[in-house]
Amino acid sequence: MIARFISASVTILFLATPAWANEQRSEHFLISHAWSRATAPSQKVGAVFMTIATNGDKTDRLIGALSSAAESVQIHGHTTVNNVMRMRQVGGIDIPADGDITLAPGGLHIMLIGLKAPLLENTLVPLVLEFEKAGTLEIEAEVEAPGAKQASSRAPAKSTESHGSSSGHRGHKH
């Protein structure tokens, strides 16, 4: 019984953290699945998404970010009022001590403003996160397909399945 419990726990652990998961650790944080979307040359903005967790029991607050890929960087969130989507700058994002915060499409994101060059799929975007207590943290975000909804590192392994269209990979994983 105990053996089965341990075996199940180990299995769950492995499922939860695949070997190739995109994780970036620092003394204070675990940043996982940092990703962005490819952009067109005319597009001057991009968004970066990720999951931020603290290493330990201290809360913190993400208060800003910088990137050499963009002229400026802001933290944005969405509100929906009567089906109208409003994207607005937010002052910061609280990181809980005992959990994590996920920045994802339709919610919070780090907005890259004034892209110096288009973001190309399968490249990395450098980003410096600024926290209220822990100071700065340098990370890199993987650039996914333009219409991707999550990091490919988060998707299940059988992600190469195609649905017949000639235009192929667009970041949707099954």
């Binding site: 979307r37 490819a38 952009t39 067109a40 040359p41 005319s42 597009q43 001057k44 903005v45 991009g46 968004a47 944005h76 969405h78 929906t80 009567n82 089906n83 109208v84 989507m85 409003r86 994207m87 607005r88 700058q89 499409p105 339709g106 994101h109 907005m111 890259l112 403003i113 397909a145 333009p146 219409g147 991707a148 909804k149 195609s162 649905h163 017949g164 269209s165 000639s166 235009s167 667009r170 970041g171 949707h172």
Partner: protein
């Protein structure tokens, strides 16, 4: 006397509240769920238009006749919501397989000032090789947005050097006759949209068979 006044004022407040709620619901929720998925459209949504496509050609709604269409209103200076919506449309077409060929994906900008045909030409192929980008004058866009009951508004923050757009984010399904037959809320999964489109296609094919005896 005071009591009567109170009742009078209270009644007015209640009536105004419910009238407001009703008007609000009427404008925002012109649709309701049906078994075919998405939302059935029980008021007139959509209508004729003349806009400029991403190749610079002037087109009317006639170019959509004979095919289904999935129409999204958005803007390119939109890093999150619009790519998600357009990505979902592309995946929906993939989900439909060969039937996806009978659906024209369309993005109509609500930001014609920045979204010129050139900007759209640069943007639309990122999502799907057949995605059609449409823009026009401010008046053109205002007209079609009213027809589709799309709300959009420029938001200017004095701290920013650019403006953002607040907008409704539905995906509209048009049938081959150009009638809006369904609306999908932001966040509807591509699987659900594809399922709904298939049901519309099937129901149309069945209707045709009943009327004319053989498939088109």
């Amino acid at each position: 006397m005071q009591r009567k006044l109170f009742i009078f004022v209270f009644t007015i407040v209640v009536v105004v509240f419910f009238l407001g709620a009703w008007l609000n619901l009427r404008v925002v929720e012109p649709v309701e769920s049906t078994p075919v998925g998405g939302m059935a459209v029980n008021v007139s949504i959509g209508g004729p238009f003349e806009l400029t496509n991403h190749t610079g050609a002037r087109v009317t709604d006639e170019f959509l006749r004979g095919s289904y269409a999935l129409i999204y209103f958005g803007y390119t200076f939109c890093p999150d919501i619009c790519p998600t919506g357009l990505g979902d449309i592309a995946v929906t077409l993939d989900e439909l397989g060969d039937d996806g060929g009978h659906v024209i994906p369309v993005m109509i900008t609500i930001d014609p000032e920045r979204d010129t045909p050139e900007v759209l030409a640069d943007y639309v192929p990122l999502f799907h090789e057949r995605l059609v980008g449409l823009t026009g004058t401010e008046a053109d866009i205002k007209d079609i947005a009213e027809k589709y009951r799309v709300f959009y508004r420029r938001f200017e923050d004095p701290n920013l050097t650019f403006y953002l757009m607040d907008h409704t984010s539905f995906i509209y399904l048009l049938d081959p006759k150009g009638r809006t037959v369904s609306m999908f809320r932001y966040g509807t999964s591509p699987e659900e949209m594809a399922g709904s489109i298939r049901k519309h296609m099937l129901s149309r094919a069945n209707t045709y068979q009943t009327q004319f005896g053989s498939p088109p």
